[in-house]
Structure formats: structure tokens, C-alpha cells
Amino acid sequence: MSRGVFAAALVVATLAALGFLVLPVVAIFTHVSPLTLASQLTNPVVDDALRVSAITSLEAQALVLLVGTPAAYLLARRRFRGRALLVALVELPLVLPPAVAGIGLLVAFGRFGLLGTGLPFTQLAVTVAVAFVSGPLYLRSAIAAFEAVDERLLDAARTLGAGPARRFLRVALPLAGGGLAAGEALALARGLGEFGATIMFAGSLQKVTQTLPLAIYAEFDVNFDVTLAISALLVLISAAILLSLKLASAWTLSLRRSGFRFAPSTST
């Protein structure tokens, strides 16, 4: 193949990929007028779903951060037998089909499940489902971020008399901050889109368990404009998360280059 043909093939493939990936997103905004979209946002279904999504996401991500951060720190800093297995287990929900997650949650926390709780159909069930599917995404990034923290800096802090908690809070946490924020952004985005596990484990009831993705499903045959409006809203939220992620990573990169604070070693 001549060089020109190859270059052209690359361009064609890139254009095809771009068109394919962008077209559905654009279509959401062009199917009906932006005015119609905006007017549907005042629909009580959208309002209630937005509230449920916001509350459950907040709760789930607080849970993920509070439990996930120390857990990731331990998994990143300690070397012990079976660590690789443990990390793999923690990451497993990440690759599980959401429907499998839903079934798993039901037989674990359902009324006749392993733990036998009355969780299903409550708003807390949505939070649990969101935490279950989004937590591993954060854990994965957080473990990598803590692993990238230069061991020598933690050692130096210890020789200066800092205890383990202080070393975690004052050295490891700020240095891993960029990676933690990126992981959390991804977890938030994944959690907001949670559908399969939620509908199986928590059911769908407006004002209680009906999140934005569930509302899209429920309104699909009722009012197509509402489904489009919610979809557009989720596109905007997801784009905002992605944008902040890009900005944050650009910011941490520039921090590293400028040598501000303790520059972590780049050999990760």
C-alpha cells in the first residue's frame, strides 16, 4: 500500500468513527426544537427524577469516597499475599453486566437474600445500587493514584515525625488528589447513568426510586419529548463531568511540571 492510500485510510476511519459516535448525541438535540426540550424540563416527572438522581448520587458518592479512599490507600501501600486477588475482586463489579449486579444485590440484600434486609423498593436501595456499580471505578483510579505517590516522600515525612494518619492526610492525599478527583468524576458519571441494577433491585416509583435513566425508560412510550429532554439533560451533565475531568488533569499536569509542592516522581 502506498503511503498516500494509508494516510487517506486513516482519515476515512477517523471520520467514520467520529460521525458514528457523535451522530446519536447530536440527534438528541435536533429531533425536536430546543424550545420543546427546555419546556419539558419543567415536567414534574423530570423534576422528581432529577431530585432522586441528585440525592442518591450524593449519598452513594459520599459513601464511595469515605470508604473507598482509605481502602484504596491500604490496597496501594501494603504488599501482602493475595493482594492481586483482592484488587481483582474489588474491580469485578466494574465488568459485570448491570443486570447481574441487580440480581446479585437482590439475593444479597433482598428480603430472602443472604443478609435479608428490607432494602428493595426504598430510595436507599438506589443508593446502594449506584455505589455498587460506581465504587469500583473510583477504587481503581484511587489505588493507581496512591501507588503513584513517591514512597520516599512518605518516608521523609515519617523521619520528620509524622504519624501514619498524618502521612495519609498531609502527604499521600494531596499528592494523589488529581487521580482521586478523576476517579470520582468517572464514578459519578457512571452512577448517574445506572439503570439495570436499579430497576431490578429498587424498582421504579416516581419521587422515590425513579432516577433520570429510569424516567427515560418509563416515559419512552408516554411522552417521547420528555425522554428526549431527560436525555439531553444527561448529555449536558456528562459533558460537564468530562470537561471538568479534562481541566483537572490538565491542571495537575501543569502543577507537576511547575514543580509545585512535592512533585511526585513521574516513573509510575
Binding site: F121, A202, S204, A218, D221
Partner: protein, 243 residues
């Protein structure tokens, strides 16, 4: 590249082979989820898509490649007919509603009136789903609409209601009597009095955009025929014409 071409050729051959073995292309039948068990018994050749009739109708409106549409009510296919998307629907069977509780009956429900007790976890289908609308009619007929405050989830189709009750997560749910039969041993049936029963008629029609309209028409005719009707009766459906 050559391997890819070979693969494609093999795939094409296999596709041709199976179509020839069947003697014709299988129809795509969109059917209410309450027909999930009985339709493949009537005819195992076709491709079925089971879901809430309302969901299927929305998909047909969006141009889904269905040949036949079988709905758990007449209202939805009549709406599609009014829009010129399907042929005039005909009633092909009927059904009745029942209340089901898990076999263990955790909330000790023995009659529809027990649903009034606060704290019961009642699962119903969304009101846009035929069985959800029928459920509302039953509750209205029995002056029991207040029990709707015990609803913990509005499901997308009747099978989702059945699953949540059979699993024991919900205390009770309204389904068709034919669905309850498919979960024998896992659910208990509580009858709904005849005077409170809604008129549950299933409508079937041919999708006008179908590429196999004649074949689809013949399929509908067979569904109204004696053999198919006998299978429907055996599955617990009611005769299409009231006797």
C-alpha cells in the same frame, strides 16, 4: 483480509442454509409479555419480541421491523390503526386479572381487601401498560383506589410484577391469571370477583410497513384458528368470544 472474506462467505452460506431449512423467512412478532410462554408453544418458528404492549407500540411508531403486533388490550392497536400503522386489530383471546402473593405470603394477605393495611409492599405495572390500566379498573370497581398508597414500584410489564412477587420482595401484585400459572409453587393466587373484573381483550394486527404482509396475515388467521385457540385455552386464556 482474506480470512475476513472467508468468514463472511461462510456466514452468508449458513444464513441461506437456515432460511432454506425453514422454507421461508421467520416473521417478527411483537407480543405482550403475558404471551411469553404461549406464543412459542403455538408456533416456535417465528422471532418473538415480548414486552409491555405500550413499549412495543412505541417501538413500532419509531419504525421497528415488526410484522405482527399482539397487544394485551384493544386500545393500543386501535391507536396504531388510527395512525395508519397497522391493519384493523381483531380480538384473538381474553384474560382475567388475579392478585398474587409470594408462596410464603409474608404479609398474610388473603383477600384484595387486605391490601388496605398500611406498610404492604404492593407492586403494580405502570398505568400505561395494559395490565396496569386493568389493575386501576379493578381497584376502582372495588372502591379500593386508596391501596395505591402502598405501591412501592410501577413495573414496565406484567412479567416484572410477577418476578418481584415470585422472588418474595413484594408482598402482592396484580397479574393475569395466565402469568400466575407460569409461576406455580412460587406464588399464591387470590381471585378477583367476576363483578370487579375488567374487560381484558387481546388484539392482533399486521404492521403495514411489514415486508411480509401476506405471510403475516396468514399467521394472524392461524392464530384465530382452532389449533392455536386450543393452545391458548390450555394455557389458561379465555375464549375470544364470550359464551
Amino acid at each position: 483480509m482474506r480470512r475476513l472474506a472467508l468468514l463472511a462467505a461462510v456466514a452468508a452460506l449458513v444464513a441461506v442454509g437456515t432460511a432454506e431449512a425453514a422454507g421461508r423467512t421467520p416473521l417478527t412478532v411483537y407480543a405482550a409479555s403475558s404471551l411469553t410462554n404461549v406464543f412459542p408453544q403455538i408456533d416456535a418458528q417465528e422471532h418473538y419480541s415480548f414486552a409491555g404492549s405500550n413499549t412495543l407500540a412505541a417501538q413500532i411508531e419509531q419504525g421497528a421491523p415488526a410484522d405482527v403486533f399482539a397487544s394485551a388490550n384493544m386500545a393500543i392497536p386501535l391507536q396504531l390503526y388510527a395512525k395508519g400503522l397497522v391493519t384493523k386489530p381483531v380480538v384473538f383471546t381474553r384474560n382475567a386479572l388475579v392478585l398474587i402473593v409470594p408462596a410464603s405470603n409474608p404479609a398474610a394477605i388473603h383477600s384484595v381487601y387486605d391490601l388496605r393495611r398500611p406498610g404492604i409492599r404492593l407492586v403494580v405495572a405502570a398505568p400505561t401498560v395494559p395490565v396496569g390500566a386493568y389493575t386501576l379498573q379493578v381497584l376502582q370497581n372495588m372502591a379500593l383506589t386508596s391501596v395505591l398508597s402502598n405501591v412501592v414500584s410501577r413495573e414496565a410489564d406484567v412479567r416484572d410484577v410477577l418476578a418481584k412477587v415470585a422472588l418474595g420482595e413484594a408482598d402482592a401484585g396484580f397479574v393475569y391469571s395466565t402469568d400466575a400459572r407460569t409461576a406455580q409453587g412460587r406464588v399464591r393466587v387470590i381471585r378477583i370477583p367476576a363483578w370487579a373484573q375488567p374487560k381484558v381483550q387481546y388484539g392482533v394486527c399486521v404492521v403495514k410497513a411489514s415486508a411480509h404482509r401476506a405471510q403475516a396475515q396468514a399467521w394472524v388467521a392461524r392464530l384465530l384458528g382452532r389449533q392455536a385457540q386450543a393452545k391458548l385455552l390450555a394455557a389458561g386464556f379465555l375464549p375470544r368470544a364470550k359464551r
